[in-house]
Structures are given as C-alpha cells and as structure tokens.
C-alpha cells in the first residue's frame, strides 16, 4: 500500500511537472512568437522591403534596411524609394516560418499580403525619393493589385530566450521531480500512519480485549465512517461475548453445586458400612442430584443448538402444534388440579420454525402450570397480526413481582424462593432464558403482563419467515 501511494504521488507530481512545463513552454513560445510577428509587421508597415509584385517571387537575400524595392519591368533595375503605406492598410500573414540562410543564421520569415481596398492604392501620397520618379512608381502605386512582401527578421533573440526557458524548465522539473521522489515514501507513510495504527489496534483485539476501540478522532475524515462501523461492530461483539461469558460462568457455577452435592453424598455414605436402607436413601438423594445435572446439561445443549445455524422455515399448522403442546401440558396440569383452556381457531397455517415455536410454547406452558394455584387455569391463544404470529399463554398463578420482571429472561435467574429448598431444585432458572433465546432467534418479541396475585400472560409475537421465491437464473447466451 505504501509503495502504491508513493508511486501514485510520484506519478502525479511528475505528470504535473511535465504537463505544466510543456504548457508553460508552448504558451510562452506562442505569446513571444505573436509579439515577434507583430513587431515584424509593424516594421514591415513602417519600412517594407518590397520584393516585388506577386508575380515577382523574388526573395531578397539579406534585407538590410527598410527599403522598398520595386521592379517596374522584368529585367529593369530597381529603384530605391521610401514608400508610405496608407495608415489603414494592414497586411495579412500568408505564411510564417523560420528559415535558415547563409551559415545557419535563423530568421523569422513572414510572407505578408497587402491587400488594397476599394481599388485604391496601397500607398498613400507618394513622395518619390527616386531619382527617376517618372517611371514605374506611378504605375505601382496606382495599381490596385495586392502586394506581397516577404520579410526576414533575425531569430537569434527569440531562439536564445526559448532555449533559456527550456533549460530553466527542465532544471526546475528535474529538481521538483527528485524532491517529489524523495518525499513520496515518507509522505505515503505519513498518509498511511492512521491506517497502520488502526491495524495495530485491531491486531491487539482478541476475545479478552474486546473493550478496545479504534481512535476515530485520529483518523482522516474519509476513514472515520469505517472506523465508526468497526467500533460499533466491536461493541456488539463485546456485548455478545460478555453475555456468553457470563452465561458460561453462570452455567459452570450452576453445575458445581449439584456435582458437589452428588460427590459429597456418595463420599459421606461410603465412609463407613451402612444398612441397606441407608444406601437406598443415599441413592435416592444422589439420583435427584444426578437428574438435576441431566436437566441442566440438556438445557445447556438446547441453548447451544439455538445458537447454531437454524433449520429452514417450513409451512405448518400452528394450531395443531399448540394442541400438541397443550396435550403435554394437560398431563402435568392434571396432577396439580390445573385446567388447560385452548382458545384456538380450527386452523392457522403459518410459515416459520416449528421446533422453536414448540420450544417457546412448551416452556411457557410448563411454567404456567407449575406456577399456578390449585384449581387455576392455563390458557393458550393464537392469532396472526399482519404477517406476525402471536401466541398468548396466560396463567392464574401468583404473578411476577415488578422488581423481578426485568430479570426473568436472564439465565439462572430465580426469584427469591419462598418454597421449600427441595421444591426449587426443579427450577434451574433456564426455562424463560430458553424462551427468550428462541424468540430472539426468530426475530420476535415477548411482552409480559403480570398482576401479583392474579396471574401472568406472556404475549409472544414472532414474524413469519419470508417465503423464499424460486430463484430465477438468467442465462447469458
């Protein structure tokens, strides 16, 4: 990257220098040339050296001074005159180029056409300086035909100036190019430093240091949105990781106590020989702890599966599924003198994840039955709102204290127990955590309405899965 930026800087500077130098050179040259030509024209106007009429294309070898040579007739000897051009006569430049004559001397040669206007003469009042005024001048000056003039002017000055300009430009561009080359690498390093520092920061971030963030202020403004997004992503990762770490810590904490109980019970029992009845009692206690462990492990596995890649959504009858759950709950409810009420339509076809829906409903109904009073009811209801599936599970239990409400979805959260310790062993505090984990996986939400002493209802609302359109693959022939 550094190398690319260095090259880019170098090429940009070099290209600018070459282009700028060339433009400067040619503009200066054009301007100077036009000045030169103008001064030649002025010279020509003031003191034209007329070689002859157009038909006499005879170029004077070496013009010396402003004179006009007029050939009257072919073969006649030219006469020397001082001509006067009319003030409004300006020549047209018919041709202009450099010529070399006599020993490499360069001239600017202009071929000027003096076009007479309105059939009048080019020349104003003739003041004949010739010794023989009677001859051809009259004819010329009265002649309305155009006059062609070829004017040579020494180009030494111009050439010298252009050479110097060229040398100056080449030296300047060369020095600037070298300086640019020397600066390119450090400059590109400097330009990349924030990126490098960002990379350094990112390299230092691992699962133990997710609290680190990229210093957005230190970055150039173009990179700031990227860094902001990265920081936001790090924040989300940090939170998710912290939650998972907390869950693992809680889970291992929850595993320790039943394991300790199991081991201690067996160790104490084995310290001395005992009666068969004692062993039986010990085994029963050990079994209850082992069952608790099994339940804990199963729940942890279920949660781990929830976090894995979900199964694909499928169409199913939500009512049939809820009826199955209600059947299972009824078995448990019967032993506690609780009635399960089904407030369900005959059919409700939805497109979602039946295993997750079952996980949610089973846990909610199980809780509703367990935390209920004798003679109470558990009611299950379902409907669709727009594209969302809403399931409501209500109980007539003791309700949830508002103090506990914000925490009930936390793993291993248990409201302060009033019951006997043995009774609470069945409750790991993971049921609602699993419900929450399923609902989150489905992108839904759960609203709880609870009145202490009257009961609780869980309103679960999950969006249906989008029915996947068959993909159209366009073939390119």
């Amino acid at each position: 990257m550094t190398r690319w930026i260095a090259w880019a800087i170098l090429f940009a500077v070099w290209a600018t220098l070459v282009a700028g130098g060339s433009v400067a050179y040619f503009i200066t040259r054009a301007a100077l040339l036009s000045d030169l030509d103008k001064s030649i024209i002025m010279l020509a106007r003031d003191a034209p050296q007329v070689i002859g009429r157009p038909e006499y294309r005879q170029v004077e070898e070496e013009p010396t001074e402003a004179t006009i040579l007029i050939d009257d007739k072919p073969g006649a000897r030219p006469q020397l005159l001082k001509p006067f051009l009319k003030p409004d006569v300006f020549p047209v430049v018919a041709d202009s180029h450099f010529v070399e004559q006599g020993g490499g001397q360069r001239y600017r040669q202009l071929t000027l056409l003096f076009q007479p206007r309105e059939s009048s003469s080019l020349m104003s009042d003739l003041r004949l300086l010739s010794a023989n005024p009677a001859t051809a001048i009259q004819g010329l000056v009265n002649d309305a035909s155009p006059m062609k003039m070829v004017y040579n002017y020494p180009a030494d000055h111009f050439d010298q100036f252009m050479d110097r300009l060229m040398i100056a430009l080449v030296i300047f561009c060369g020095v600037a190019g070298i300086v640019a080359a020397l600066l390119a690498v450090p400059l590109s390093r400097a330009a990349l430093r924030p990126l490098r520092q960002t990379a350094e920061t990112l390299r230092e971030i691992d699962e133990r240091r997710l609290d680190r963030r990229i210093d957005v202020e230190a970055l150039p403004s173009e990179l700031q949105p990227v860094a902001d997004r990265l920081n936001q992503m790090l924040g989300r990762l940090d939170l998710a990781f912290a939650q998972r770490k907390q869950f693992l810590a809680d889970a291992s904490h929850e595993l320790r106590t039943p394991v300790a109980a199991l081991v201690t019970t067996i160790e104490v029992a084995l310290r001395r020989p005992r009666e068969a009845a004692d062993y039986l009692r010990t085994l029963k206690i050990a079994l209850s702890d082992a069952r608790l462990l099994r339940q804990l492990v199963q729940t942890l596995l279920e949660h781990a599966r929830n976090e894995a890649v979900p199964e694909s959504a499928e169409p199913f009858d939500a009512v049939a599924l809820l009826n199955q759950c209600a059947d299972v709950a009824e078995g448990l409810a019967a032993t506690r003198n609780v009635t399960v009420v089904r407030d369900l339509p005959p059919h409700l076809e939805v497109h979602s994840y039946p295993k997750r829906i079952r996980g949610i409903v089973m846990n909610l109904m199980g809780n509703a039955v367990e935390h209920n009073r004798s003679g109470g009811t558990v009611e299950v209801h379902c409907e669709t709102h727009e594209r969302d599936l809403e399931i409501i599970v209500s109980d007539t239990g003791p309700g949830i204290d508002p103090e506990h409400l914000p925490h009930i979805f936390q793993p291993f959260y248990r409201a302060k127990r009033q019951e006997e310790p043995e009774d609470t062993r069945q409750h790991l505090g993971l049921g609602l955590f699993l419900v929450d984990s399923h609902i989150k996986a489905l992108g839904g939400e759960c609203r709880i309405e609870s009145q202490v002493g009257k009961g609780t209802s869980f309103h679960v609302r999950v969006p249906q899965a989008v029915v996947a359109e068959p993909q159209v693959v366009e073939a390119v022939v």
Binding site: H253, T264, R272, I285, K416, P421, E422, R425
Partner: protein, 224 residues
C-alpha cells in the same frame, strides 16, 4: 465441636451435616442466609461452613456482619465461584478459608479441623497435655503408651477441653459446643460425660489431668 452448615442446596447441606455428625461434630443446619446469620450470632460455633450464594443474605454479607459485630468465629466458605477475585473477596471480608465446589469431603473435614485448631491457637494436629496425646486428625487418644478408646461424645468433650487446656471451661460452654440445637439433653449430661472421661483417662494414673473448679466448671491441665 459445634459447626454451623449454611448451604441452600439441600442435599449437599444434609450430606455435609451427616458426614460432620458422624465425625463427632454437633451440627446445626440451615438453607437460608438470614437464618444462618441469626444462628451464627446466637450460638458460639467453633466453625461456620458457609455457602456464598444463598437466598436471603449472601455468605459475604454474613461474614461482614459477623466481623463487624466482633465475632471471631472461624468461617469456611464453600463457593461455586472460583475466580481469584471471588476468593480474595471472601478472605478479605474476614473468612478464614475457602473451598471451591466440587470438593472432596475429606478435604472439607481437614480444613474444618484446621480452622478450629487455629481458632484455639493450636496449629498442630497433635494436642499434648503431660503424657496425654490427642491426634485430632486420626481421633486417636493415648495416655503414655496406652491407647484409650473413647466414644464420639467423649472424644469431642476431651478435644474441646484439650483445645482450651489450662482454661476453666464452664458447663454451659461445654454444652453449647458439644450439642446442636436439636439435641434434647438433660442438664447434668456434661457431668456424666466428665465422669466417663475421668474413668478412662485419669483412673489408672497418679497425675490427674481433669480438675473440677467448683461453681465454675472444669479444667484440663497438668497442675491442679
């Protein structure tokens, strides 16, 4: 020795209590933090085995309160939290030792014995008074070269007197340290056990070790 076991996981609490009782400890049991604090403040325990996370008060709050109220009762934490911070926190609050779950019951016993001895300023597991030797780990008692067989209650009484050897120990103290809340004992049970101990330890020896301080209690020492 009287121990309070406070642990909310019932089967674990019961197993620990049973194991300790079989080792001759008088054990009180509670599953609740508030109750544990009340017990610890009301009774002169030789050791408190305390779970950290309990309904009601946490083990940490209990230790803090005990120490603030000037109680020096040795406290052993049973904790499922094994991070260094958690362990340091418990010790800083005034706990004497900790044990991370799951643990081996033998280790729990060894630590309970150790902190009880330390509570009485007896760092060694061997207690010696004249030619009487008590191995508190093996629970073996010798007078001279002669091993002496004691019942669990007799041993507990002798160990308690030995830990406080040289001090006068009142009957009520002995009673409080040897019997848990559920023991329904008659008031002269201490005298009866002292009689048993005397017959086993002092009867065949000229140098008597157990002395009665009339109106005050008993003392175990070389000098009368």
């Amino acid at each position: 020795m009287r121990v309070l076991v406070a642990e909310d996981h019932a089967s674990l609490a019961r197993s620990i209590a049973n194991g300790l009782r079989e080792e001759g400890y008088a054990v009180d049991l509670t599953f609740d933090g508030d109750e544990a604090l009340r017990y610890a403040l009301d009774n002169p325990y030789d050791c408190v085995v305390l779970d950290v996370m309990m309904p009601g008060k946490t083990g940490w709050q209990i230790v803090e309160t005990l120490r603030r109220k000037g109680s020096a009762t040795p406290v052993l934490f049973l904790t499922a939290k094994d991070t260094v911070e958690d362990r340091v926190k418990g010790l800083n609050l005034g706990a004497d030792d900790y044990l991370v779950k799951p643990f081996a019951f033998d280790e729990l016993l060894a630590r309970v014995r150790a902190i009880i001895r330390r509570g009485h300023n007896r760092p060694s597991q061997m207690l010696k008074i004249a030619d009487l030797e008590i191995d508190t780990a093996a629970k073996v008692v010798r007078r001279g070269e002669q091993p002496i067989t004691l019942s669990a209650r007799e041993y507990a009484l002798l160990e308690y007197l030995a830990l406080r050897s040289g001090e006068v120990v009142s009957r009520s103290e002995i009673w409080e340290h040897l019997y848990d809340q559920n023991d329904e004992t008659v008031s002269n049970v201490v005298d009866v056990y002292i009689g048993y101990l005397r017959s086993k330890i002092d009867r065949d020896h000229d140098l008597k070790l157990i002395h009665t301080r009339r109106g005050m209690g008993y003392v175990l020492s070389e000098t009368p």
